[in-house]
Symmetry: C2
Amino acid sequence: MARTISPASKGKAPRTPRGEKTLRKILDAALLEFGQRGFHDSSIVGITSRAKVALGTFYTYFDSKEAVFAALVRDMSRQVRDHVAPDIEGSLDEIDRERRALSSYLRFVFEHKEVYRIIDEAEFVDPAGFRTHYETAAARIVTRLEEAVAKGQMRDDGPLATEVRAWAIMGMNVFLGLRFGVWGRQDAELVAAHANAMLRKGLER
Amino acid sequence: MARTISPASKGKAPRTPRGEKTLRKILDAALLEFGQRGFHDSSIVGITSRAKVALGTFYTYFDSKEAVFAALVRDMSRQVRDHVAPDIEGSLDEIDRERRALSSYLRFVFEHKEVYRIIDEAEFVDPAGFRTHYETAAARIVTRLEEAVAKGQMRDDGPLATEVRAWAIMGMNVFLGLRFGVWGRQDAELVAAHANAMLRKGLER
DNA sequence: ATGAAAGTTGAACCGGGTTTCAACTTGTGA
DNA sequence: TCACAAGTTGAAACCCGGTTCAACTTTCAT
């Protein structure tokens, strides 16, 4: 699970390779701990013992329990984006792009249920990070939808319609991730195909 | 905010009118406390002082902090359902029914942001209640979609497609509630109309 | 009227987890 | 080689809120 270093709390960045390695160990351990136990049942001791460092070392890199969590949210948010981005290159058309995005997202959720949980829990532990995550995700979808309009592949019903569609698509993806990725298990391609058919043609007739 | 009494913890039901009144006060206070502060920053003292009862009284009706929360989740789940149900009677057709359901849900979220928050937080505090809430909600949508198929108003692509559509619609509703009900504010009818147009006709062309 | 059941009270107990810190170790540049 | 900066350590201080309980008050059926 390679990961570039996430910015720790202000003024607490590691200054040597040794420090970087330790920070990375703590972040990896925190992901496990929070993912398995949730924010509250997690403890700093739990994190540091998984990371095999002393309790105090934690505070070399983070100001508080909330701070690691926030760092993790930024990290995970980036990971989701970076996972999906390459998978939607070279789609047949703009709506097909959304199918691929969902399929890619579902596959990501399969492998990283902890990430799903952490982003969800951010609503309560790191509200600002949570909001940023979804607002930037929505903004990316809006951009894609505007391209679809520009290419004449989608009806243009004004900016509010676009915003509504983007959030609708995002909500759809998240809940399909919960139902078919975290709770159940279904072929990602199949689920994405069904959802996309609905998106493309609608339900009517 | 009238509310019928929610079952408290087992063997802790009130046996007199006085007890019922106290239980109701505690539940109302708990809704406020949890809605404003979130589960973890909430405290029993916070609840009982809002309710203007002594600390110990809390334990006459509930076994623990988690137990009130769970009772609240059941209650809120029922409230959402009861709010939407009458509003979708006598719709033009089965797909229009979904428009009305969303519109009704959005209006509910406007008035009760706390409820949105509590149900979301249930994912971590009362996972079983959370799952039940969404699974029963999805089941209701599935039933409606099956009716739509039966009436020849919707394409039939098999049971998986129906399940996917139901969860997609639900996720869409929840996220539109977050974006246009909790965070921002938009005319519920307008948002529901845009979302429903997408659902009915799809995005294409 | 009366006593047993139901309900109320809040001080005190209790455990657990975050955060601090001063001593110690490691690495590096001059 | 030496000294200073960076990093590590874990015991203990500190804090806080959930839960208990025995004494007290209210209600209500007989």
